[in-house]
């Protein structure tokens, strides 16, 4: 898929078929994520690849927008190291967006579930995935072969554009 088309047509996909995702595809998603830019090239991210059914099924108990996870064959938890960089949140968000775009380009469907800065999501995620104290989970990406299709959203708004000064 062409890059601009991928950017403009990507949508949040929350229904998936039962088909599993191969390790080769997971590798491509991880490479895409780690290709993001980062302040001072600190690369302050860490990624947890989640395929264990029991772990995925447990998340909706504490995350209000995670109802698709029991359907998803895969999730990638993007974590950051706040002590490494004061731009960690931005860098890890760019990595998350890369994974979402790569998934779409590879014919998969995915959706970004916000974790940080909501403590009632951060704490149970850290406990469930045994994340070290110095690491903060930023976002969880649910991924699968899409069982729904959505048209491009067309979110460009001219009133959000300013020329030279506000």
């Amino acid at each position: 898929m062409e890059a601009l088309e991928a950017i403009l047509t990507r949508r949040s996909i929350r229904h998936y078929t039962k088909e599993l995702i191969s390790p080769e595809i997971v590798q491509k998603l991880l490479e895409a994520g780690m290709s993001a830019p980062s302040a001072c090239d600190f690369q302050p991210w860490q990624m947890v690849v989640i395929t264990e059914r029991a772990l995925l099924d447990e998340i909706p108990a504490f995350h209000p927008h995670a109802a698709m996870l029991p359907e998803a064959p895969l999730a990638i938890l993007v974590c950051g190291e706040p002590e490494t960089s004061r731009h960690w949140q931005q860098d890890c968000s760019a990595a998350t967006q890369n994974v979402l775009l790569a998934a779409h380009a590879l014919g998969l469907g995915a959706v970004w579930l916000g974790i940080y800065p909501r403590e009632n999501r951060v704490a149970p995620i850290k406990k469930l995935f045994e994340i070290p104290e110095a690491v903060t989970p930023l976002a969880l990406i649910a991924i699968g072969h899409p069982a729904e299709q959505k048209p491009p959203q067309g979110k460009f708004k001219p009133e959000k554009v300013h020329q030279n000064k506000w």
Copy 2:
């Protein structure tokens, strides 16, 4: 350019030719930026398109990594509305990454200059571009036709990948 190739080969480009960037291309970059996902679809971004030479030339006086701006024909300032969403920083970072990827896919070169949370960058940027009190500049993207070529960086690190639990 194919989407995965764009993601994997994008680099920070800091030297540009004197060629200007057409309004049609600027429009594509803005559409790419605003196609990013956002928490609850709040779209908490605003974008300032900067082409005025005097404004671009002034930024290196207070931003230590902006030496390329006097060479750049264009910059896009991505701003957020923190009161709109507690995920504003993540959403605006995804939008910034979309602009960077679109620029690369269109044959341009670009680089992400961090602004927020460094107050000694946020304050002078707000003053120079007359940004309203409730709006925060997150990142400045310098853009031009590339006058340097860089090979793909290959930043994948297997030690940053964890399986199911840390």
